[in-house]
């Protein structure tokens, strides 16, 4: 929040415009109400392009290419990002604040002390986890998992599943999945769920088991590998986790006391694949103020302000890599830009109804591991409704 304000400050000084910010986890609820009532906010930062596609399809958004300098955009942003932000050939959203999701956080000092090495493949990862359990050193648990997030509980699990699916079945299947060209009950999708289940259900892997994962918040869970004494060895969540760790443990040094290794390969064909997310800026009202604001937000200068403060990865090509405050954030940025296969975060790419169903599905799965098939069928029926009704094919 404070960083966002800092980024906006120069715009405010230069133009005198005032930005009033509402942050809420109930974004969908409030946005829906206001849009339905014909009184949307001026500019909204959405967490996912799925919603952007819906809104653009409903005709609620202003096309950005009507006032942004598209030449500048093409210079500063890779075509892939521009495509992701477009619907039917027109640009509706620009991406800010990206985060790679394929990062597994750990404590390098603890690993060194215990003689552990970062695993490179999925099988290594499982073997490594088993080893930690049998060795019984400190930390006793290989994994920390936290899914609780109020209304959005379950989203960290969807990150896991998306990452697994990408590594196991590749980009093409991934695209089919999020475009609902294959059903949720497809065995490849089920396999991704089951692999995630392997992590959560294996006794001794996670403190408190599946229930512990359900009851722990996603921020809380990120602390476990770095407590003194550490309580778990690894935590898988996006690169924005760095901010959580740094806030809680200001004395720790990035790269030495906390670091990440990339998500291990499952199928070697897809090694180096990365899922990631980004916030997307969309505009509802076309006014001089919003034009100027959006122009500013998308510029490298603005984004560098937040980059320097940490916790922000920009997809703007012009942002200087040296602006990143430490080796770790630079590594995260490089992981994003250097990915062999890149896909946008799965649940964020789906229509909001399916996304919500996906989140809830993971919660149900953790509570009823033997009912995976019926959970998947439930999501499938929601998906049929949602995709069929909108008749849209997300980018």
């Amino acid at each position: 929040m404070a960083s966002f304000q800092a980024m906006v400050a120069p715009w405010h000084e230069k133009t005198g415009g005032v930005m009033e910010f509402t942050g809420t986890r109930d974004l969908m609820a409030i946005l829906t109400t206001r849009v339905e009532a014909g009184n949307p906010p001026d500019v909204v930062i959405l967490p996912n392009p799925g919603q952007m596609v819906e809104l653009a399809g409903d005709g609620k958004l202003i096309a950005l290419d009507s006032f942004l300098d598209m030449n500048r955009m093409r210079r500063e942003y890779a075509q892939g990002w521009l495509d992701l932000g477009s619907v039917n050939g027109r640009l509706y959203g620009i991406f800010m604040k990206a985060a790679g999701k394929g990062t597994i956080w750990y404590n390098p000092r603890v690993f060194a002390a215990n003689g552990w090495k970062e695993p490179a493949t999925w099988d290594d990862l499982i073997a490594f986890s088993d080893r930690i359990v049998t060795e019984g050193k400190t930390p006793a648990y290989p994994w920390s998992v936290g899914l609780e997030s109020g209304e959005a509980s379950g989203w960290p699990a969807t990150d896991w599943i998306g990452e697994i699916l990408l590594h196991e079945s590749g980009g093409k299947v991934y695209d089919q999945w999020i475009n609902h060209e294959i059903p949720w009950t497809d065995p490849r999708i089920k396999s991704a769920w089951e692999k995630f289940g392997r992590i959560v259900f294996t006794p001794g892997y996670v403190p408190g088991g599946a229930i512990g994962a359900l009851a722990t918040g996603f921020i809380d869970a990120s602390y476990l590998p770095f407590e003194d004494p550490p309580k778990a060895a690894m935590y898988c969540l996006g690169s924005f986790t760095q901010e959580f760790i740094a806030d809680q443990y200001p004395g720790l040094v990035a790269g030495e006391d906390y670091a990440f290794f990339p998500f291990p390969a499952i199928d070697s064909r897809y090694a180096g694949a990365v899922t990631g997310g980004a916030d997307i800026v969309v505009v509802f009202k076309d006014t001089p103020a919003t034009r100027s604001f959006v122009n500013y937000l998308t510029s490298a200068g603005a984004q560098e302000i937040w980059v320097k403060r940490g916790g922000f990865t920009s997809v703007n090509k012009l942002v200087d890599l040296d602006a990143y405050p430490d080796a770790l954030s630079r590594k995260a940025a490089e992981q994003l830009t250097g990915a062999t296969i890149f896909r946008f975060d799965a649940d964020d790419s789906m229509p909001s109804a399916v996304q919500k169903s996906f989140w809830e599905g993971t919660l149900n799965y953790l509570q009823n591991p033997d009912k995976l098939d019926s959970s998947l069928t439930d999501i499938e029926s929601r998906a049929v409704e949602a995709y069929g009704q909108a008749g849209l094919i997300p980018e």
Binding site: D26, M28, A29, T32, T33, G150, E151, S153, G154, P207, G208, I211, G212, L214, A215, T216, K231, S352, A353, K356, E360, L363, Q367, D378, R382, A386, Q389
Partner: protein, 315 residues
């Protein structure tokens, strides 16, 4: 009721003006209520028979969904749980406290302590109890009071807001009834017992002491007095408290929403309706749920009206 009061010295012209006057007094109120309450109710009823964005008629499809879909069934079941346990336990505890506080000199202080939660918002209560129910896995330090007590008693820490099998309870209850619902109901009881206690206490004080003294003299035990004299005389008051609580149990939204967002099997009709509106964008289904809520409340409306009428006639 009160007789006709004229608005000035008599005369035909006054009468005619007089007939309009009540309506002038009523107008602002009815305008508000018509616009904000009556029209939306009718609107919602209509929407419940239409499709998700109200563009076409859908017959009874939404209602069919609500009664056959498993998530919706869970919500209905949970409302029933609230209805029974929340109401009965709150009335019961309120009654016990009313009777007991009646007998001590620091009655006002004791009552105040139990009544305080009525003053705070559900959001604040949710923060308080989420904190109380905080779960840390076994072997970790517990910072939530409930789990701290549990671990001190030798039990495992429990994730109260998530479904956690408590062996002895699970033997009694079938699967869809999750024990975490009771954790939420407990919060509701904590908040509303004060209300029940205060109203029942007033009712209690209205019972004439002579009857009770006479019974005591006749050798009746305290328990017999309670059952045979106090309870029956208190039953209208109990009815009032119970109806208020039943309404709360059915309308319940804030508390469930802020504590679990309806996850982990704690959904009630009000939270599910919210999700249908804002996550799933199916206004037809959401409206159907609202209507079902209203229908469930209809008996309450009738009881209240009947009670009001019978008391009105004795005036």
């Amino acid at each position: 009721m009160a007789g006709w009061l004229r608005s000035g010295p008599g005369g035909k012209s006054i009468n005619r003006r007089g007939r309009l006057i009540p309506w002038l007094w009523l107008l602002p109120s009815f305008l508000f209520m018509a616009v904000f309450l009556i029209y939306p109710v009718i609107d919602t009823l209509l929407i419940s028979f239409m499709n998700r964005d109200s563009s076409a008629c859908a017959g009874a499809a939404n209602y069919q969904y609500v009664f056959t879909n498993s998530a919706a069934q869970t919500a209905l079941l949970n409302n029933a749980l609230w209805l029974v346990f929340f109401t009965v336990l709150t009335v019961g505890l309120g009654l016990i406290f009313a009777v007991l506080t009646n007998r001590v000199r620091y009655e006002a202080v004791a009552k105040a302590a139990i009544f305080i939660p009525m003053a705070i918002s559900f959001v604040a209560a949710a923060v308080i109890w989420r904190f109380m129910y905080t779960f840390r896995p076994e072997g970790f330090t517990q910072i939530g009071l409930v789990n701290a007590v549990a671990t001190n008693l030798g039990l495992d820490p429990t994730a109260w807001l998530v479904q956690q099998p408590l062996p002895y309870i699970d033997l009694l209850l079938p699967a869809p009834l999750h024990t975490n619902n009771f954790a939420l109901i407990a919060v509701g009881i904590w908040m509303w017992t004060g209300f029940a206690m205060v109203v029942l206490s007033a009712g209690l004080k209205g019972i004439s002491t002579e009857v009770i003294e006479a019974a005591r003299v006749d050798g009746a035990s305290e328990w017999q007095i309670f059952r045979r004299i106090i309870l029956p005389m208190l039953s209208p008051t109990i009815a009032v408290v119970a109806t208020t609580l039943v309404i709360q149990a059915l309308k319940n939204f804030d508390m469930v929403w802020v504590m679990t967002a309806g996850n982990f099997g704690t959904d009630v009709v009000a939270t599910l309706m919210f999700k249908e509106m804002f996550n799933y964008h199916d206004f037809g289904r959401a409206a159907a749920m609202a209507v079902i809520l209203m229908v469930a409340l209809l008996p309450i409306i009738f009881i209240t009206i009947r009670r009001f009428r019978s008391q009105g006639e004795t005036r």
